[in-house]
């Protein structure tokens, strides 16, 4: 038998059901990998007992002949943006140090209800702001991948769900939750050669998820393959009356309807995504992806998304604007860090607490957001950006006249070295260029691994679908997965 930690969600679920192994065995194996993987700095908090309790419950249920829940016996990692009852939650920021929620986010509660257990809380970019996981207050997450040049440069796992990416790729957990505001599931998934899907905005409840940009934030799974993503998304999603933007719709059985037969489907190739400076390897993989989908029965059509070039600027107005307001609650009054210099008044306490508690990238975005909302600038920035957002959504609406899903690269580069872009925020923001339009339009989008570049690093392909049509996205992802034959994995060096 292969190593148990090589298994994904479906294999573990089925193995536990069939009695091939016990859930406890699985969880102990992953707990051991978590404990041995500290060099990756993927976990902020380890919760082996939580995972074991879920595993024991699964084993007990099986012994009693009960029907097992959809993810019974599957231990997962939880991005630290999700509030978890009784387990420290910091969003990787000093400002939330010492904060332990007395409540469980809806998404994590849904997962526990589905039988999953928690291996620990995963490191991330602070408040989910970043594309390299270098903005965490608790140190960089390191990608398990190394370039094939024989060097040992530490690579970025992508961000903001960098801990999730690193932990799944390094087999510290079979799957993990991520959140995606402007690519934070898809880009790190692409960087480490795994799959990840951001569902339609509103599928997963935001209740109990530390907010970055409310109109964009969506949770989703990160896992080894498309099927695992379908199973886990099914467990995470669902209407939540506690989130006013939650979609009051039943959750489809995505797993059962998975099919890589794309006959009759049309795949759009947006010409505006051919951006100067994109490495040739990425464009070649994109062409290859189109070929694979054609091979699966789809028709390939060129489409136009004319406002694409305005997406990134609009995103970097809307997301910081919302963040500047969402992060106002971290004021040192009720929880987390409080800095109270001698003789300080209320305003002094705010200033000292926030200066100490927030990292530089978070401060940068709060300042951008405050600026674009301020009197005299609001119309020029925020109102304009909202108009752009509407135009981008219309671009997609128009595109759906011609195609069912859209294929594009996930990111404009493979993983870069830690520190290589850390002092150039704009270069960093450009990482999101392919990911952001789907976020602004609230559409489901996923990244699946397509191959390796010349340095031996994974490259991802992105599929964007119509609102609520996660199924077509997953099916196209499955078709690529089956043809790409992506089996590469990082050698264990940690």
């Amino acid at each position: 038998m292969t190593n148990i930690t090589d298994l994904g969600v479906k294999a573990i679920r089925d193995g536990v059901r069939e009695g091939t192994f016990s859930a406890r065995e699985v969880t102990e194996a992953f707990n051991a990998n978590v404990a041995a993987g500290k060099q990756l700095n993927a976990f902020l908090v380890e919760t082996p007992e939580h995972a074991l309790a879920a595993a024991d419950a699964a084993d007990k249920a099986r012994a009693a002949g009960e029907e097992l829940a959809p993810m019974a016996g599957v231990p997962i990692g939880m991005k630290d943006l999700f509030c978890t009852e009784g387990v420290a939650t910091t969003a990787a920021s000093h400002i939330l140090e010492g904060f332990t929620p007395q409540y469980e986010s809806t998404v994590s509660a849904n997962l526990w209800k589905a039988g999953a257990g928690m291996l620990g809380k995963l490191n991330m970019d602070q408040f989910a702001m970043g594309s390299s996981n270098e903005t965490s207050a608790f140190g960089n997450v390191i990608s398990p991948w190394r370039r094939n040049d024989g060097g040992n440069t530490d690579l970025a796992p992508g961000g903001s769900s960098g801990g999730s990416a690193s932990a799944v790729s390094g087999r510290l957990c079979p799957a993990a939750t991520g959140t995606d505001t402007g690519g934070s599931i898809r880009q790190p998934a692409a960087f480490v050669g795994i799959s990840g899907i951001k569902p339609t905005y509103g599928r997963c409840s935001r209740w109990g998820v530390v907010a970055f940009a409310s109109s964009l934030d969506q949770a989703g799974p990160m896992a080894h393959d498309v099927t695992d993503c379908a199973i886990m998304l099914q467990a995470m999603a669902g209407f939540d009356p506690k989130d006013a933007t939650s979609l009051d719709l039943p959750v489809p059985d995505w797993e059962s309807a998975l099919s890589s037969d794309l006959k009759g489907k049309r795949v759009g190739i947006p010409k505006e995504y051919r951006i100067d400076g994109t490495p040739a390897e990425i464009n070649e993989l994109w062409d290859k992806g189109a070929e694979w989908l054609k091979d699966a029965g789809a028709e390939i059509v060129e489409i136009s998304l004319p406002h694409t070039k305005y997406a990134l600027p609009a995103y970097y107005i809307i997301a910081p604007a919302e963040a500047s307001s969402n992060l106002a609650r971290y004021d040192g009054v009720r929880y987390g860090t409080r800095e109270l210099p001698d003789g300080a008044g209320l305003q002094d306490m705010y200033a000292a607490t926030r200066a100490e508690g927030f990292g530089p990238e978070v401060k940068r975005r709060i300042m951008i957001g405050t600026y674009v909302l301020s009197a005299g600038f609001y119309d020029a920035y925020y109102t304009q950006a909202q108009k752009v957002r509407t135009l981008i959504a219309r671009d997609f609406e128009a595109a759906w006249e011609h195609c069912d899903v859209i294929l594009a690269p996930t990111a404009p580069s493979a993983a870069f070295g830690l520190g290589e872009k850390a002092d150039d925020p704009l270069a960093m923001y450009l990482n999101d260029v392919f990911a952001v339009p789907a976020s602004l339009a609230g559409l489901p989008a996923m990244s699946v691994p397509g191959g390796l570049d010349g340095q031996g690093l994974p490259l991802g392909l992105q599929i964007v679908g119509k609102a609520l049509d996660e199924q077509s996205v997953l099916n196209a992802g499955l078709a690529i997965e089956q043809r790409a034959g992506f089996t590469a994995r990082p050698d264990k060096w940690w």
Binding site: C83, R329, V333, L346
Partner: protein, 500 residues
């Protein structure tokens, strides 16, 4: 429409005062605007705080439909435009009583648009001087918490019980020109809110408070610069703020100064307003649509249901009392000013009409006089309130029926009522056992009259000779002989007949 003649007499001439009010009215609801926490007044600090109200990480607001319904009903009661599409915005600022760091309000798309309130400027003659005050808008917003500065020598404490409670902000047009008009507006608005049941109007508990905008100008001239005095919590204070602020502004202008657009605070102890912050220090609130909330979209059915649920409102009721019940304008106005007064009146009216077997219109004046002057007088003397448990409509109706039937005099009615309030005994039983009845027995009265006329033959002579004044003397003597229990009307009639 009546033009106000209220003027501030300055050294350089007359000044006209221009007033606009922003009234914050707490919406009557069991739960807060965006959370399930209770809104009950007077609870221990921080016992009515949900995770949302404390702005814990990841918490989200969900609109309370009841608050939306009450705002729409209020708008309909003011004949205002109901906006089928409205939206919540965030007003961003830092303060310790504002856990989210923003207040959820409605700046760009309020739920209610233009409406109007008719106010009577003369309570004695409500039909004579009516003024229409425009309402610009009503929007829904969250209340903040409360800072407590008296709990610790060096620190302030925060009570979040009020944090997130639903408010309606009712913004008037700058249509008022005198403290009297402003007072009448606040009273009328409070009356309507209480009729509708969307706010209890309790200014002492802070469930209704006003921001008072005041400017002065030469009569009919260009609008002056205004100041805004925040959180004024009684009708009297609103009127005082206007007087003080208008006079202060006139003094500044006449001394050659300029009015600074600023926010001021009222200090009732010193009866003065003080600057809180000037326009330069004004917050930049960075309003933007709250991304946690979808726009509110109201259906025609919802609005129709709100409309159908409205009670008869004070103006309509007052007019009906005059036209259908034949009450004086003054009585109608006083009886309809407060929803509770009107409700109690109507209950007693119904009971009285039934008891006497008459139409309501035929007993309305009797009930109105009783309710407005006689009963309150007795209550006041006994130091009890109208909601006293013995003050039942049945007891009142029984007394009124005895009065109407002539078996009890007005004075006896008061005595009976007093005993009813004190003991809860049956009114008719009291009249019988306490001897609080008058007789209309003509035989008995005539017998006494005969005796009196005999004993006072000289006065009878004088009366018949033209000294009419003596009639009162005979009445008095007869009543005395009857120990005050004769029906005065019968006594009068018999005396007139016998004296010729």
């Amino acid at each position: 429409m009546t033009e106000s003649t209220y003027r501030i007499q300055g050294a350089t001439g007359d000044w006209e005062v221009v007033i606009g009010l922003e009234v914050h009215a707490q919406i009557t609801s069991n739960a807060k605007l965006f959370s399930g926490a209770s809104t009950e007044f007077g609870a221990e600090p921080n016992t009515q705080v949900s995770l949302v109200d404390a702005a814990m990480p990841g918490m989200l607001p969900v609109p309370n439909q009841e608050c939306v319904r009450q705002a729409v009903r209020t708008g309909l009661a003011l004949n205002a435009e109901i906006h089928k599409y409205s939206r919540f915005d965030r007003k961003n600022y830092f303060y310790a009583d504002l856990p989210q760091g923003y207040q959820i309000s409605q700046l760009y798309h309020p739920i209610v648009g233009e409406g109007v309130i008719e106010v009577a400027l003369d309570e004695k003659d409500p039909d004579s001087a009516v003024k229409e005050i425009g309402v610009e808008r009503i929007h829904i917003e969250q209340d903040a918490g409360k800072l407590m500065h008296d709990q610790h020598p060096t620190m302030s404490y925060v009570d979040l019980n009020r944090s997130g409670v639903a408010l309606m902000e009712i913004v008037s047009r700058p249509d008022m020109r005198s403290p009297v008009e402003a007072g009448a507006y606040v009273k009328k608005l409070r009356s309507i809110l209480r009729y509708v049941g969307s706010c209890d109007g309790n200014m002492e508990q802070g469930s209704m408070r006003a921001d008072v905008n005041v400017s002065v100008r030469r009569p009919g001239g260009e609008l002056g610069i205004r100041t805004e005095t925040k959180n004024v919590n009684s009708v009297r204070f609103v009127q005082q703020v206007i007087e003080i602020e208008a006079n202060r502004q006139v003094d500044v202008l006449e001394a050659g100064g300029e009015i600074v657009q600023e926010t001021r605070l009222y200090d009732p102890d010193r009866n003065e307003t003080r600057s809180m912050r000037s326009k330069e220090d004004a917050h930049d609130y960075r309003y933007f649509p709250d991304p946690d909330l979808l726009p509110l979209e109201l259906t025609d059915d919802f609005i129709a249901d709100c409309k159908a649920s409205l009670p008869e409102l004070p103006d309509a009721k007052r007019k009906r009392y005059e036209s259908e019940l034949g009450l004086t304008a003054y009585n109608a106005a006083v009886l309809t000013a407060e929803a509770e007064t009107a409700r109690a009146f109507e209950v007693l009216l119904k009971e009285t009409a039934a008891k006497q077997g008459k139409a309501e219109a035929d007993v309305a004046t009797q009930v109105a006089n009783w309710s407005l002057s006689i009963a309150p007088g007795v209550q006041k003397a006994l130091e009890v309130t109208a909601d006293h448990e013995n003050n039942t409509p049945a007891a009142n109706a029984a007394i009124l029926a005895m009065v109407a039937g002539g078996s009890v005099s007005g004075g006896q009615a008061k005595e009976i009522y007093e005993i009813v309030l004190k003991t809860g005994r049956d009114a008719e039983e009291i009249a019988d056992t306490e001897g609080l009845k008058q007789t209309s027995d003509t035989g008995a009265i005539e017998a006494e009259i005969e005796k009196i006329l005999e004993a006072n033959a000289d006065k009878v002579e004088e009366y018949r000779g033209g000294k009419d004044k003596l009639f009162g003397f005979f009445v008095g003597q007869t009543m005395k002989a009857m120990q005050g229990k004769a029906n005065p009307q019968v006594v009068n009639e018999l005396l007139k007949k016998i004296l010729g």
